[in-house]
């Protein structure tokens, strides 16, 4: 699947603020799209679009905070940078508590915004690649046969081959074969790495 290039997404009800922000991002070669309301953004929302969100806290209709809540409910992981006017500090605190990436007060130095956006884009990229890596590993784990899964479960608890053989009623030779299949299929290079992968996936033996 072809990767989409990252984009900065601006949501602000003020036309002048929106187009000035687009100009700022254009001046550093960043693609930007803008929406006049939280609803307009949600309608067009594409979870596969990498990037970050630059969001005004106060907007008529759905506020920036309400939009953040909606995105949290959807499990969206796009980093959100809030921008707001004077006297909105309590809102800023609330936004950060709900996982906002950063917060800026209007008017701001545009370099501050650009720096934060660059960091947010880097964060989004690493989030997305970590997620992709995880789903790749999950696929590999899911390719294991029921027997291999039994062996994996015992391996991750640190059982010796002899003990596993006794518990599963198999020969040690068979255990060794399953064991090497588990290592091969999951791509783990050591028992320690296998255990870490299983923990990352929250893997529990389903047979």
């Amino acid at each position: 699947m072809k990767e989409k290039p990252p984009a900065v997404i601006i949501v602000d009800d003020d036309e002048a603020v929106r187009s000035s922000l687009r100009f700022v991002f254009k001046s550093v070669g960043l693609a930007a799209t803008a929406y006049p309301s939280a609803q307009a953004f949600l309608t067009a929302y594409d979870p596969d679009q990498p990037g970050c969100l630059v969001l005004d806290v106060r907007m008529p209709g759905m506020s920036g905070l309400a939009l953040q809540e909606q995105l949290n409910l959807k499990g969206a992981m796009i980093p959100v940078i809030f921008i707001s006017g004077h006297g909105d500090i309590p809102m800023a605190v609330e936004a950060i508590q709900h996982g906002a990436f950063d917060f800026l007060q209007k008017p701001f130095r545009d370099q501050d915004l650009i720096d934060r956006v660059q960091r947010a884009l880097a964060k989004d990229e690493s989030n997305r690649s970590a997620l992709k890596e995880r789903s790749r590993i999950r696929e590999r784990f899911e390719s294991l046969t029921p027997r291999e899964r039994d062996v994996l479960a015992l391996m991750t608890t640190g059982k010796a081959n002899k003990v596993m053989a006794a518990e599963l009623g198999l020969s040690q030779r068979t255990i060794e074969i399953h064991r090497s299949h588990v290592m091969e299929k999951t791509g783990a290079s050591s028992l320690a790495q296998l255990v870490r992968m299983a923990m990352d996936l929250n893997w529990t033996n389903v047979t």
Binding site: D14, A16, V17, S19, S20, L21, F23, V24, K26, S27, V28, R58, I83, G85, H86, G87, I89, P90, K106, P107, F108, R109, D110, Q111
Partner: protein, 260 residues
Amino acid sequence: MKCNVETNKMPNRSADNGLLLTGRMMHVSRLATIGEMASGVAHELNQPLAAIANYAQASVRVLNSPNPDMADIREALVEIGAQAVRAGDIIRRMRNLVRGDDAERAPTDASELVEEMVDLLQADARAHDTQLTLTLDRALPPILIARVQIQHVLLNLIRNALEALIPIPSRQREIVIGTQRLPDGDVEIFVSDNGPGVAPTVIERLFEPFFTTKPTGTGLGLAISNTIVRSHDGTFGHRPNTPSGACFYMRIPSISGAES
């Protein structure tokens, strides 16, 4: 001079009066308080300022790049100009609102003005478990005021008092709103509460713009109230209330000889 002062514990509004008031209520709630209005203006003013800052800073960056696109720069400059005009318009509107127009001023009975305002605020007071008490002088000379502006000041003072009473146990919260004629002929409208009062360290900064003790305050409510009252050749002030709490008052010259 002895004034004819009547004390009046506000009764519950009858259904008829309730209907009658709805229209006026909507009008006043649209006005909201000075603080909210100022906060709105500040927010509104921030938008063109933010846009100007963004365009100007990004233009510098574009100009420092190897092949600056002059069409972009021109567009940005046009926008900067337009946004500066927009900011100016907002300030002008704000100033008009505060200064008002002499033509809008009309002879007004301060006690009637207070009663009308308090009618609209009963629901708010009940929601705050606060008793509103009126002590009104029924024989006041008229004052020449822009009604909406003085209502703004009064609304602001009452809302402040309601907020100040939050730390007081709900059954003891009381606000007294009164009018009286002073020996020099001025008419005084005051709003007093039995809250914690104004801290001595705060008193001298009370009317300073942008000074606030509230986490979400703008620091403009009392400053604008002060400006409005002074534009009526009046004085706006604060005194401690006895035995406890704060009392804010405005004193406005009465129309001498205008009564007939």
